[in-house]
């Protein structure tokens, strides 16, 4: 599924990285614990989170996440958006809460990171 499709499904707004919307996402993970994200996120993954500080962008950078969706209408500070732009990480924000965001994507067939290796 592409980031563009994810944007539609979540009725999300792109904060930065419009040029990356054709990226193909294989897995998603929803978490507000960055050590969990570091431990469990796989390649070609998207992160859904309620955290908006710069360490979320750093975490994404370290493990090559392909994008971040902020849930429940959260918006990071300008400096965080700038850092994401610098690192080439697209940021989206959706008004949907975490559970509903994950649920919508899962129903559309986007797998979780623990399903890594099964047919994506």
């Amino acid at each position: 599924m592409t980031l563009r499709e994810i944007k539609e499904i979540l009725e999300a707004e792109v904060l930065v990285g419009e040029e990356f919307l054709d990226r193909e996402i294989w897995y998603a993970c929803g978490s507000d614990l960055l050590s969990d994200v570091l431990a469990f996120a796989k390649e070609h993954a998207l992160l859904l989170t309620g955290l908006t500080n710069s360490q979320v962008i750093r975490t994404a950078e370290m493990i090559d996440l392909l994008g971040i969706v902020f849930v429940r209408g959260k918006r990071p500070e300008h400096s965080t958006i700038e850092l994401a732009a610098l690192k080439g990480i697209p940021l989206l924000t959706t008004r949907l809460p975490m559970y509903e965001s994950c649920g919508r994507l899962y129903l559309k067939g986007l797998k979780g990171c623990s399903e890594f290796g099964s047919n994506a």
Binding site: D32, L33, L34, S35, D36, L38, A39, E43, T49, L51, N53, S54, Q55, V56, R58, T59, E61, M62, I63, D64, S79
Partner: protein
């Protein structure tokens, strides 16, 4: 056998409490490893463990020094900090145990998984800590035949 010379060496200061720059050092190491042509899965292990260790210095210590030595088949990382030290190392390794204050937890860190992530990602992890002096973390990562 003579000591093998590293291909690349890096040494950087880490400032305690500087959350704006936290991650810079691990990010730089990641770029070095990518340019050196190591497999992505190997780089990922090194970078996750280094980033957790770097965050520990930023969260808990006053200052630290990060040293990495990159060899053809392994990476050696040392993080030496001046800080409070770890009074009970066994307890610190327990998943979910953390002494991080609430403002750190609000950032998504300090949930008590840093040390266990470092242990899982490294092949050798040695921690030498002295209360009210500091902590030295030494990690080795070996490029395995399966390239990860």
């Amino acid at each position: 056998m003579p000591e093998e010379h590293p291909l690349i060496e890096m040494e950087r200061e880490i400032a305690g409490g500087d959350f704006q720059r936290a991650g810079d050092v691990s990010s730089e190491l990641k770029n070095i490893l990518q340019r050196a042509g190591f497999p992505p899965a190997f780089n990922r292990r090194v970078v996750i463990a280094s980033y957790e260790a770097e965050m520990n210095v930023v969260i808990h210590a006053y200052r630290g020094v990060f040293r990495a030595r990159v060899y053809s088949d392994r990476v050696h990382v040392e993080i030496d900090d001046q800080g409070p030290g770890i009074p009970d190392l066994e307890l610190a390794f327990q998943e979910g145990y953390s002494t991080a204050p609430p403002h750190i937890r609000e950032m998504g860190f300090g949930a008590g998984y840093g040390l266990s992530n470092m242990k899982k990602c490294s092949d050798v992890l040695v921690i030498d800590t002295r209360v009210q002096e500091g902590t030295k973390v030494v990690m080795d990562f070996f490029l395995s035949p399966s390239n990860s």
